[in-house]
């Protein structure tokens, strides 16, 4: 039963990414902690694995619309490992409670961004389908 809920929340995370441009990871992590009983750190690590195929699909889609500067993206990624290592070491050393509160703050920050955008006035010019925001995992 809780496996079904995890599947639904993972699908909802992907759906939110494709539709609204918010990151899927923000829903993958709670799906894994709440319904598959992973610890916060295990859920974050496993969420990162799920993000890889989701982001690949996103790149393929957005490239068709000319929305990807592949070189700049790959340079950013290639030059990221020092930062990633700092983050991964920190997440394994910090108290779990701090991680939970930090993640809750991130959830509220993204929720605030969604509300602000939903309540913003419509742009005057109509936008074509491919001009919608792509997702941002």
């Amino acid at each position: 039963m809780s496996e079904v809920a995890a599947v639904l929340l993972a699908a909802a995370g992907g759906f939110a990414g494709g539709l609204l441009g918010i990151g899927g990871g923000i829903l993958f992590v709670p799906a894994l902690t709440l319904f598959l009983d992973l610890s916060q750190v295990e859920a974050e690590a496993t969420s990162l694995l799920m993000i890889i195929p989701v982001a690949i699909v996103g790149v393929i889609r957005q490239r068709r619309y000319g929305n990807v500067s592949l070189r700049d993206g790959l340079v950013i990624g290639t030059l990221s490992p020092v930062g990633v290592l700092i983050g991964v070491v920190a997440v394994n050393e910090l108290p779990v409670r701090a991680l939970e509160l930090g993640f809750a703050a991130l959830l509220l920050f993204v929720a605030y961004g969604l509300v602000r955008r939903a309540l913003a006035p419509e742009p005057s010019s109509s936008r074509s389908p491919e001009l919608r925001s792509p997702k941002n995992v």
């Binding site: 993972a10 699908a11 909802a12 995370g13 992907g14 759906f15 939110a16 990414g17 539709l19 609204l20 899927g24 993958f28 992590v29 598959l36 750190v41 690590a45 496993t46 969420s47 694995l49 890889i52 989701v54 982001a55 690949i56 699909v57 996103g58 790149v59 929305n67 700049d72 790959l74 340079v75 950013i76 990624g77 030059l79 990221s80 930062g83 990633v84 290592l85 700092i86 983050g87 991964v88 920190a90 394994n92 991680l99 939970e100 930090g102 993640f103 809750a104 703050a105 991130l106 959830l107 509220l108 920050f109 993204v110 929720a111 969604l114 939903a118 925001s133 792509p134 997702k135 941002n136």
Partner: protein, 120 residues
Amino acid sequence: MPSSRTLRLAAIGTAAGIFSGLFGVGGGTVIVPLLIFWFAFGERLATGTSLAAIVVIAAFAVAFQTGYGNVHFLDGLLLSIPAVGGVIAGAAAQQRLPQKAISLGFAALLVVLAITLVIP
């Protein structure tokens, strides 16, 4: 001597990497605004480009987290299937759904999830 452009891309990668490692997310929250402010990218180009960066950042993060034994590969790979299906469905539905209402609905869901995290 690396160009200042490369240095700025390295700074974005480092900041996004820390964020990604700490929160288990891609890091788009960091990359997109920095590409817009530093490189004058439009929002679409910034988010599309961030996806390419995220593929590599997440791969590094998974490799490092594997060293700690934290990655549940079977769960992650199985849940990738509905996640990817959700992305495709969400992108296809963009023109047919009321985005404001859905944005507010997802915002409410995120607040509920935040509350469940804060309450032990």
